[in-house]
């Protein structure tokens, strides 16, 4: 009898312990919002059928590098605007770039409401393959004419470049959709040593420049890496990297014949140049391992230049980032490939509670000047002031360090060319940018997106090998004469040929379907 009682009590104790865990979970203070969401779902759906727009809340997810203080204020302003125009409120959900991949994946795999989301960032084809993005063609013709018009006025190739199996799952933001390549240097030193920028036509012309700097400014590093290495970005001036860079198209054409970038003579040539620079002391000794950004290095007066990709207005942008006046020399013409276009795009997620309304919001991002400026720069007279009709600057007493809303990510939110021009930039910047986009060399494979699913294991293995060699080679830390063949041998062993073959197969099928 006693024993039974004890048993019952102990059992009760355990049940209690577990019950506490579960009840604690259930009592989350989120009930309110949850009920709200359910309500909205129903409303949204009935809204579609009746034609009358019922209020909805749209969730807009995008990456940021540090959340601005006044985000809620801006969101309230946005809501006033969207409420009036499409009877919807918008919830802005910024996610740090570092946490982006993980949180985005998790948010998309659940039933969480996500309406508009930034897609691309290297995972476009995977996201489409997983069925996480809605097909947009129907919505675009129905509610998103503004988006199509804005993009097609540049070149219909841009919107078409996002097609996967003939369907659009995302629209690129209007920004620099191509890139040209060259070097950015400190203007004061260029002038001080009378460096003839017009004479710089290729990487090999830089030796003389670097020598001048090295000889006259012994504490300064002539050139620092951009991205993970000196050549990291610059190689794209020679090749369309067709996604992840294993298997590229030299010259953005090569008659659609995919080759291994690491075996091309151009690549070997570039490595020799960088190695020469390293031996001559033009590159920091710790270049392969340093984690300091090129901007901080220039800002602190330690570095003179970096080799990178460019666009119109690059000089003022880099001057702002480095705090020193910079001058750029472009020596590789602008080119565009699928990767340039699909790096930043907007999609409607599968989890969207009301895709039609989401498309209407997206349409606003491509057509509505006031909405764009609110997203890009915040509230007028608080976060910026107009100094002329379309040129703006910080209000008095506000600067980059204490502004409550200073995303400076106009390239992300829809149509950048509708936004104001920041003081110091060329007033004609958006026209120049449009011309730049129109005139860029279009890759022959523009519109081809590689689906890496079939060769996932090979990609992982090859990436491992690449991590071992690439940075050391591209900073000139090791000798390419002996290490490049070794690198290539390891790549072969890891299965790079299989990736290239698969890519060629997909590319051929893509080209055939296009005809």
């Amino acid at each position: 009898m006693r024993k039974n009682k004890f048993v019952a009590k102990t059992l009760l104790l355990i049940v209690l312990a577990f019950a506490m865990v579960i009840s604690a979970c259930g009592n989350g203070d989120n009930k309110g919002t949850n009920a709200g969401n359910d309500g909205k779902t129903a409303e949204g759906k009935s809204g579609n059928s009746s034609g009358e727009l019922k209020p909805v809340e749209l969730v807009m997810v995008f990456p940021v590098g540090g959340e601005p203080k006044d985000l809620k204020l801006v969101q309230d302003e946005i809501n006033k605007m969207t409420k009036a125009k499409i009877n919807a409120t918008v919830k802005l959900v910024p996610i740090g770039f570092g946490a982006w991949a993980q949180q985005k994946t998790l948010m998309m795999s659940g039933n969480e409401q996500v309406d508009l989301i930034v897609s691309g960032l290297g995972t476009y084809s995977q996201d489409v393959a997983k069925g996480q993005l809605l097909e947009l063609d129907g919505y675009l013709t129905d509610k998103g004419q503004g988006v199509t018009e804005a993009l097609d006025s540049l070149d219909p190739a841009f919107l078409n470049a996002t097609r996967i199996d003939g369907k659009i799952y995302a629209v690129p933001s209007i920004r620099d959709l191509a890139a040209d390549y060259g070097i950015t240097m400190r203007k004061d030193l260029v002038e001080k040593y009378n460096i003839d920028t017009a004479a710089i036509k290729s990487l090999d012309d830089l030796d003389a420049v670097f020598k001048t700097i090295k000889d006259n400014e012994p504490d300064m590093i002539p050139t620092v890496k951009y991205g993970t290495s000196i050549l990291d970005i610059y190689v794209l001036s020679y090749f369309d990297n067709l996604g992840e860079g294993f298997g590229v198209l030299p010259g953005y054409d090569n008659n659609l014949k995919v080759v291994n970038m690491y075996e091309t003579p151009e690549y070997a040539e570039m490595l020799n140049t960088v190695r020469r620079w390293n031996q001559a002391g033009y590159i920091a000794k710790d270049a392969a391992t340093s984690t300091e950004t090129q901007y901080n290095l220039v800002k602190s007066g330690k570095a003179f230049s970096f080799i990178s990709h460019m666009k119109p207005g690059i000089e003022t942008q880099e001057s702002r980032s480095t705090g020193k006046e910079m001058v750029s020399v472009h020596f590789k013409p602008a080119a565009t490939a699928t990767t340039n276009i699909i790096s930043i795009m907007w999609s409607i997620a599968r989890n969207s509670k009301d895709p039609e309304r989401a498309m209407m919001l997206l349409n606003m991002m491509y057509t509505d000047k006031d909405f764009i400026n609110l997203l890009d720069y915040g509230i007028e007279n608080k976060h910026y002031v107009k100094i002329s009709d379309n040129v703006i600057d910080y209000p008095q007493g506000v600067d980059a360090t204490n502004s409550g809303y200073n995303l400076q990510m106009g390239w992300m939110f829809g149509n950048q060319s509708l936004s104001h021009i920041w003081n110091g930039d060329d007033p004609e910047l958006w026209n120049q940018l449009a011309e730049f986009n129109r005139n860029a060399v279009k890759s022959k494979a523009l519109g081809f997106t590689f689906n890496a699913d079939a060769v996932k294991t090979e990609i992982a293995a090859v990436t491992n090998v690449q991590n071992q060699y690439k940075i050391a080679l591209e900073t000139g830390t090791v000798d390419p004469v002996s290490k490049l063949p070794e690198f290539n041998k390891q790549l072969k062993a890891a299965g790079i040929d299989k990736i290239i073959a698969e890519k060629q197969k997909q590319l051929d099928a893509w080209a055939a379907a296009k005809k």
Partner: protein, 296 residues
């Protein structure tokens, strides 16, 4: 004999001193980096004794303090609540499992043990907590998932209860008229302070250092804990460094990210409370583990 013993002592002391030095060195480097002028740090790198001492990083933290102070209080709050709850629940599960009379004792013990070896994986866990329990963007997301109960701690405590609390005490208390509850909190718990302190310290450290739950369950910066905030900043920096996607605009993103000395200063203020707390816990920590081992 005496001389060789002394020599032996000397060697041990020197080895320990060197070892201690290597333990303290990284912290010292961190502190000194947080006190270095930011541009100086870029120019000449980390140094144990910076040429130019600057408190600008701490100034910056103090001035933009609302975020940091909120993150700090979130960390303190989750640590206190989490440790208390975690310790209570762990003891309440471990104690019945330590009693031989407990029915299904082995089955339940295996159930606990099983969670140590297998879990559902990240996506199912996330779906459970966000879709069914609605923990997303709440304080509870920092307290409940993965931290509140830990199979290892339960087994640690059960072993202690089973081996260090003589059954005779429980029986005599029972004869004197105490019921299970009373036996548990008047007899067993007071006798178990070593293991409670040990597991309590484990929980404190776990909660204090936790950033992962914040990373996956929070999108609202209102609930960021200090470690999560720091981790996000570091991840962003890493992203800026490593991302090589064509046309990725690393350039424009970096503006909002604090410079290295600020990050070091944040890490420094994050680690101080644990450094202070540790010596106080330590005596229990050692005792807790040995008592379990010796008397068992």
């Amino acid at each position: 004999m005496q001389a060789s013993g002394k020599l032996y002592q000397w060697i041990i002391n020197i080895v320990m001193l060197v070892f201690t030095f290597f333990c303290i060195m990284p912290f010292w480097l961190l502190f000194s980096a947080s006190l270095t002028d930011d541009m100086e740090l870029v120019r000449s790198g980390y140094a144990f004794f910076p040429d130019k001492i600057s408190f600008s990083a701490y100034h910056y933290l103090w001035n933009s303090s609302s975020d940091i102070i909120r993150a700090y209080s979130i960390t303190v709050l989750t640590t206190i609540i989490g440790t208390t709850l975690g310790l209570t629940l762990t003891a309440m599960v471990a104690y019945p499992l330590s009693r031989l009379e407990m029915p299904f004792r082995n089955t339940l013990a295996f159930y606990v043990f099983f969670t140590m070896l297998f879990n559902g994986g990240l996506v199912p866990t996330y779906l459970l907590y966000t879709n069914y329990f609605d923990l997303k963007n709440t304080m509870l997301a920092l307290i409940i998932p993965g931290l509140l109960m830990n199979g290892f701690f339960i087994i640690l405590m059960r072993t202690f209860f089973a081996s260090s609390i003589p059954t005779a005490i429980i029986e005599s208390a029972y004869i004197d008229g105490a019921r299970e509850w009373k036996i548990f909190y008047r007899i067993v718990l007071p006798l178990s302070t070593p293991v409670l302190a040990t597991v309590g310290l484990f929980y404190t450290i776990l909660y204090w250092n936790d950033w992962f739950n914040g990373l996956i369950y929070l999108t609202d910066s209102h609930y960021y804990s200090l470690q999560n905030l720091l981790n996000r900043i570091l991840l962003d920096v890493q992203f800026l460094q490593s991302s090589t996607q064509a046309g990725s605009r690393n350039a424009d993103i970096g503006a909002n990210i604090p410079l290295a000395p600020m990050r070091m200063a944040m890490a420094a203020i994050g680690v101080i409370p644990l450094l202070i707390a540790y010596p106080f816990f330590q005596k229990y920590f050692v005792k807790g583990l040995t008592i379990g081992a010796v008397k068992g």
